[in-house]
Symmetry: none
Subunit: 214 residues, 4 copies
């Protein structure tokens, strides 16, 4: 029985090795330009073995994405735990996302590529879930506006933040050229707007940009 377990561990390990190899090349050359042969060679395995662990290149990509999701999820949980009020938690999660987007650009791109596919079920790591928690806490502790619907808002937040980041990512240069605006400013501006949207105590007509922590 120990044997079976060891076998399984080895299998898991090898599977992981393959994902690491795939990741390396996907990130270096892009999904389209990567061949299974490339991956096999980096993993020091035969092409056949790759197909022993994965059904298709697409599935391999999915595994890489999963790693990104785990990293992101970890960052979200850390952010969640490290902040006090619900609003702080929410903002921290947003900030974590921005950091992920900046520091893990490859994973972010992989994730975006994946985001095309239809989704069957909300996975238990879905970022929307942690956002819901944060918002609920915020409503309870009074840091977040009382009138928001935490579930709907979480769904919105995830969608719109991804949209802003993606848009920013793809058009950064074009935006800078056309409007002479630094891309980071956009993100900063976005964070402010989100805060205004969520915070319990923001006076309706008030406050310019950057007046507070972002």
């Amino acid at each position: 029985m120990g044997t079976a377990e060891r076998r399984q561990r080895e299998k898991d390990w090898r599977r992981n090795e393959i994902v690491l190899a795939a990741e390396k090349i996907f990130f270096a050359k892009g999904f389209e330009n990567t061949t299974i042969e490339d991956i096999a060679s980096v993993a020091e395995l035969s092409k056949g073995t790759i197909y022993l662990y994965f059904d298709s290149k697409e599935q391999l990509h999915g595994a890489v994405v999963m790693r990104g999701v785990e990293i992101l999820s970890g960052m979200f949980h850390e952010a969640f735990e490290g902040a006090d009020t619900g609003l702080e938690k929410t903002k921290a999660i947003g900030a974590a996302y921005m950091r992920f987007f900046r520091e893990q650009e490859d994973y972010f791109d992989a994730l975006l590529r994946y985001e095309f596919h239809e989704v069957e079920k909300i996975g238990k790591h879905d970022p929307m879930l942690i956002l819901i928690d944060a918002l609920k806490i915020g409503i309870e502790d009074g840091s977040v506006r009382q009138d928001i619907d935490p579930v709907k808002m979480a769904i919105l937040l995830w969608g719109q933040t991804t949209g802003v980041v993606q848009n920013n990512h793809r058009k950064c240069k074009a935006i800078t050229d056309a409007f002479d605006i630094d891309c980071d400013e956009i993100i900063e501006y976005y964070m402010e707007q989100v805060k205004r949207m969520l915070a319990a105590d923001v006076p309706s007509g008030g406050g310019g940009a950057g007046s507070e922590d972002v």
Copy 2:
């Protein structure tokens, strides 16, 4: 001369035929599953001829997207013209986008696919431009909050709205299953939030869903 013109007209017409054929199949089977052969056969041309008019499958897709962009752009202008205040214009544009997403789902998908690629330059039909105009007008006529930066906000609006819609699109079923929320409610909720974000006169703690026109 007349000959040359006729030639050109014929060429344009044929090019358009090809785009229409491509569109038909892209929409029916998706970009990946469409072959140039498919398109050629629907266009009643040979594979080679397609390449006389387009450099690549990707470019053909781009032409289809362009048609979608034109439709969208038309809807945006109509929305813009048909509303009075800047805020109304902005909201009308948002509503038009939602309508486009619902009524032209195929174009919307094509557009999303396209949006994936990096962008070199802000095209003169870029939706962000019309949003900037609407916001500027809104600031001037007082319907929109004075403290917003119209350019940054337009950029944000475009990005986040696309994100919300895309997220909604991909996960609609999953969201309904997990949270028992109708997908349209999310869109409605989003529109409210946007209004709150932009309107000059929304009382800070007030207003439930659907209290006004969306």
Copy 3:
């Protein structure tokens, strides 16, 4: 010692199990379409284990063929023993072959497949040997023509009979369709010709079909 013997017995038994499994599937799906995996699974063993007992798929096939050869050989010996004169023995062997072909079609096919390969040495069960014996006896007892060379004739008989049967097998339907002849008639006709070729006393121009025992 007893242990070693038991071991050997177990080994033989398992080897046989494998052959039986292989046979089952070869017969059901044909050699080419059978995988070692198939065989292993029917034998309730792992792929690797098969290779402990056999060097190759081809060798496994050989073992199946060997079973067929043993059956055929048994039938031949029975036929040989059960007939009186050399001519009768020869004819009985022929009849046994026809019966084998009809009743053991799978083995027959396997055998044919095997017969394709070059042969190094005349095995001690080679059907030609028993035919030589029968012919020699026939020459001695006067039932077979005196002028035939028993060895050459035995070689011919084996070759041509196999050829006739194989041809009949492969083209039976086609022949029936093209010439409206029942395949069994061909075999019958063949037996007559052989008899004429071998029998000591057949008048040169005489005898139609079916005039005697076949």
Copy 4:
């Protein structure tokens, strides 16, 4: 229209080139050891192009066999035309087969390999047909025994001759080793037997080996 014809001619020509290349390698290395890549490289085409003309390696093999069949068929017709009586024609066809087997060993092997498959329909080049003609003529002109059934006999002759030749081919060395008989003697002996079986005037007990033309 001339264009279409030329196209077709070119296609045929290329198809033929591929068959020639395949033939070259099949004959040199055997079917199993030949890769499509090999063939493509000899034909100076890409692997993909091979599949444009042939569905599978097996089909390519069939095309090579077809060439062999045509050669054989040609030899048969020549033999048929070159002999006077029906018996001579039949014998000449047999002799042609032997020559084919000796001089076109590669084709002969290819043909044998092919002979495994079931046959749907008697093709118009099937050797049995010409044998039927020869026998019929022989019966009419009195050179062949009156009591034979030309169709059945032709079927037999084809089957048994192929069997003899194949057996001789595969076991030649083994036979020589075991019985000290030259393989050609077997063939010669076979021809005599066939002659005796068919000829109208052979005295029942007469004639040793090699007494006449074979």
